[in-house]
Amino acid sequence: MIEARGLTKRYGDTIAVNDLSFTIQPGKVTGFLGPNGAGKSTTMRLILGLDSASSGSVTVNGTPYPAHHRPLTEVGALLEARAIHNGRTAYNHLLAIAQSNHIPRTRIDEVIDLVGLTAVARKRAGGFSLGMGQRLGIATALLGDPSVLILDEPVNGLDPEGILWVRNLLKYLAGQGKTIFVSSHLMTEMSMTADHLIVIGRGKLIADAPTHEVIQLSSGTHVLVRSPEASRLAELVTAAGGTVEPGADGALSVTGMSTENVGELAAANQVVLHELTLSGASLEEAFMELTDQAVDFRAPGAGHPLGAYPGGTQ
């Protein structure tokens, strides 16, 4: 469990993280979503005590990170891929980290096997690809078999097979009751991996909700539905408060209702469905819309100068 309360980080006049409060629960994958420069990495460094907060606090399993003794057995982190001396082998890199936290050597071979680096573990890391670096970073995070994992953009540089592997690994670990906090700037990736999303833009919290709710927060989201009884379904949806627009090939595009709502509505009225999908493209749109609002909030446009602030006309 990770708990942030009013977490704020200023660099001079710039606010990188602005009054963030959230709780990351164990047993699920929590995605940390935001555009580049939104403050995701800074927040993760604050959690790990590498940067000190300007105000506010954050604890991991109830204790501020720097107060943890041998923290790797409780918290594992991947902050940047390829944070390794090019002249050192992957095995020796892990060995040095393991020794600092009294982790047995047998665990090193286990995590090397787990991330699939056995063949190159005794080679110097200078020749590693970005993907191999990511795998080594994940091995580092898993070294102490921690109950909390903090991963900054772990799928960057991975091939499709690697991305799938990370996705399944994170779900598996969450299933074991671990706390998984994983950042990304890719909404589609997060929608497939995360159970819960925390969205930030310009350092401020935008959304903190289950993934499907975050996706529906956006008005641009629509549910694509196909049915042989399209006109009857359209009437039912409209009656239930949804908005229907005709899509391509006789499909209906429903807004204002979730896939669950549409499906339940159809079942209750015994309407046969051939397709029921959340429109994929709208995931990115939802994300853009969410973060655009944050940008507007921070910097009022030229159309309404000072208008955003009460008393701004004085």
Partner: protein, 261 residues
């Protein structure tokens, strides 16, 4: 209270880091080649030209100083090894892994400092005594050898080894403060090579009041068999050098504890 187990684990980890990169071996090898090689070269050159020297040169002829002269250059290689142990963590980004593994940051610095201090002390002592005995044989060939039992000779040799050990502490302090390899090496070179040369060109009254307290000048006193003019006594100078090293480490420790990484 010092957590001995935490310090021990951090020390073992730092030892693994140091012994698993090639630069450590290159630095040590360079120090040995420079220390022994140059010491032998200087000894052979001076001993073989003794007969052509002026009377005043013969009177100040100091075989001990000549044999340990190579250490003056070897110290740079060991200083670089020490600096890299800290700054390579910043250049590769592993400092974040290191400090998240040991959030008690002082222990990481202490482990690095003790490790490099011991290694440089052992290498320094080995080089000082090794070079002395090899060069002793060269001087003996020319009937110029000075035994270890002569006044001040054993102290100067032990002092040369101690000097290298303390230099590592000073270099670690600089590296922790500056965090950049090039910046830390340049600063060390300035302190060890450039400032002593510059200070020799200053008026002697400045040397009495200022220059002799500078780290390399103060630390150099203990490596001299005969105390030079306008320098501190051997152990007083050594104490000043140790104070410089501790001062640099304390500033580095404070910055490491308070800075974001």
């Amino acid at each position: 209270m010092i957590d001995v187990q935490l310090l021990r684990d951090a020390f073992v980890s730092e030892w693994t880091k140091l012994r698993t990169v090639r630069s450590s071996y290159w630095s040590a090898l360079t120090a040995i080649v420079l220390g022994v090689g140059l010491g032998c070269l200087f000894s052979w050159g001076n001993a073989s030209h003794y007969q052509q020297m002026s009377v005043s040169d013969r009177l100040t002829f100091d075989p001990t100083a000549i044999s340990t002269a190579g250490l003056f250059f070897a110290q740079l290689a060991l200083g670089v090894m020490t600096i890299l142990a800290m700054t390579s963590e910043y250049s590769t980004g592993t400092i974040r892994t290191t400090l998240s593994a040991v959030p008690q940051r002082g222990y990481s610095l202490a482990a690095k400092t003790i490790l490099l201090g011991i290694i440089c002390l052992v290498l320094g002592m080995g080089l000082a005594f090794g070079t002395f005995f090899i060069c002793h044989a060269i001087f003996a060939h020319y009937h110029l050898a000075v035994p270890l039992s002569d006044p001040g000779v054993a102290r100067a040799i032990v002092g040369a080894g101690l000097y290298i050990g303390v230099l590592a502490l000073f270099a670690m302090g600089l590296a922790t403060i500056l965090r950049h390899t090039a910046g830390a090496i340049t600063t060390l070179v300035a302190f060890v090579f450039i400032i002593p040369i510059v200070s020799n060109l200053l008026p002697t009254s400045w040397q009495d009041h200022f220059s002799r307290y500078l780290p390399a000048n103060a630390g150099g006193s203990v490596t001299e068999v005969v105390q030079q003019a306008h320098t501190l006594g051997p152990w007083a100078g050594f104490a000043v050098f140790v104070a410089w090293a501790i001062g640099a480490l304390l500033v580095g420790w404070y910055l490491l504890r308070t800075r974001d990484v």
